[in-house]
Assembly symmetry: C2
């Protein structure tokens, strides 16, 4: 079987294959026993498309549009007006906290189960504005192959995202074979409620702790996984600390950074941190730490699979 | 192979076996597919002995004793004096927060890796005051058999403890076959630090969020596991909400409560919530919700294995 068939030959593919051989060859100096083979992968922009904006943002905005159509007071709210007009700068004028609250109010009061169902329903119906396909068709095929190859080498694969953990869980099993307990992300406060004798967990319009970007991503990895991974993949400045943590441990490790340099097949952009616009560009971090940069244009024979290639 | 050989025949054993048969029999009304077969088990008093106090409390007090011996100022602190004299009431006189801070200061500044190593070392050396064996020998054999049987029926087993998650992780793999990412517990704040170019996570003397008892246990289950379990085991008033959550879901479920009624082979006591002394006694909750009560005295042929039976 060809390994990583959607990857072009080159330094990125070689780095991945050599790393996997190194840590799995019994008796070699670089051997890492299976329980320590933990891989953490960012989601948006690393496993699937995050342009023109995050998939979850489309989901929230569609819901907000529905709610505003039914509620003139909500529609008249200046933040809502700005959001629905696509003017993010104006929407954030009163600060990030006010914006986050507006966004989280769209699903306030839903139980966790209702929220997952709503996300799944939306993901079936919604279409990407440029590609015209469901967002779930916009995973990167080379990264899916990499996940398979990691598992073949007895890695446990976790998705560690800045996005909402419940939103990612709605798709992580289907898209990546990642069960709900192997997804780590930003969390919303839940309340414990008894409804007709049943305990239900109900979404509140507040984040629980920090957004899962930058240092919080590393703290969440420890809290959730409890050991230092040896493989990490990211694409934005918000992944820097995670990559740094993974690649400065005592065991052999590999960090890869997906570089969005392919405007023809996907998008060409620099991916900033969602929480710290001044964070070091991830390509600069990659150069400092000798992480492996994966150029979409050069290293991937296909991005989404041949059906969507131009 | 005999199932649950250390369990005496009786209603508790029957309830467990009937539940497992019901949810795993294909085509039956009660069938639950494997991904939904999630089990959550409390640790202290449910999987191992928690008397005369929590194992982790012995660990912390031993460290405090060492530190106080080397530091007269620390030894003169009234809370420390009270703790080392075994006077918990006096130690808590300034409130729980002050007490927790003193306790967490014992391992302040250690990296997560150093902490795990310290816990593992202590667990090898320390001996239980009554039984004279390592604390790790004081797991309940019937519960270990139950864990094996759950796994045989394709359950995924999580330990969900009020104790510190890093302390439990130091033993959960060895004692229960539960990997670090399948342990959920109270967490300590960590700081992200760069030491000689390496990222290290360093313990701070503060809890992260609430102690993992009562409602927080349920919220932690959702945050960590992301789905409602169908099997729960507990023993204290701090497990009530978890048992209630698990047994009021849409799928068939079983909740069991270990009743410490065996002063001869273990201890006889009522297990209170660590955070809410006024919480409903767990046996009253068990009666209200029809959970299965497991009497140590009546239902277990051995507690720790025959070597320790009187």
């Amino acid at each position: 079987v060809a390994e990583l068939p959607s990857w072009n030959d080159g330094p990125a593919k070689t780095a991945v294959l050599e790393f996997l051989e190194r840590v799995t060859t019994g008796g070699s100096a670089g051997f890492v026993p299976p329980p320590a083979r933990v891989a953490v992968l960012d989601n948006d922009g690393t496993l699937w498309c995050e342009r023109p904006t995050y998939v979850q943002a489309f989901f929230i905005l569609d819901r907000l549009r529905e709610q505003a159509a039914a509620d003139p007071d909500l529609a008249a709210d200046p933040v809502v007006e700005a959001l629905l007009a696509g003017d993010l700068e104006r929407a954030a004028a009163d600060g990030q906290d006010a914006l986050v609250e507006i966004l989280l109010r769209t699903h306030e009061g839903l139980t966790t189960v209702e929220f997952t169902a709503a996300a799944a329903r939306w993901l079936e119906e919604a279409r990407h504005p440029r590609f015209g396909v469901p967002y779930t068709a916009l995973t990167y095929r080379p990264m899916l192959e990499l996940i398979d190859l990691l598992r073949l080498h007895e890695f446990r694969v976790f998705v560690v995202t800045g996005g909402g953990v419940e939103f990612v869980r709605a798709v992580s099993e289907e898209l990546y074979g990642v069960a709900s307990d192997d997804a780590v992300g930003s969390a919303v406060e839940l309340s414990f409620e008894r409804r007709e004798g049943r305990v239900e967990l109900v979404r509140q319009p507040r984040l629980l702790g920090s957004p899962n970007e930058g240092e919080p991503k590393v703290l969440a990895i420890q809290e959730h996984i409890g050991r230092r991974p040896i493989f990490a993949a990211g694409n934005s400045a918000g992944d820097r600390e995670m990559l740094e943590y993974v690649t400065t441990g005592p065991l052999p490790s590999l960090g890869i950074v997906v570089d969005h340099d392919d405007a023809v097949r996907e998008y060409a952009y620099e991916s900033l941190s969602a929480t710290d616009p001044d964070a070091e560009p991830i390509l600069s971090s990659a150069a400092r730490f000798a992480w492996t940069v994966v150029s979409m244009k050069r290293d991937w024979a296909t991005v989404f699979g041949s059906g969507l290639d131009p």
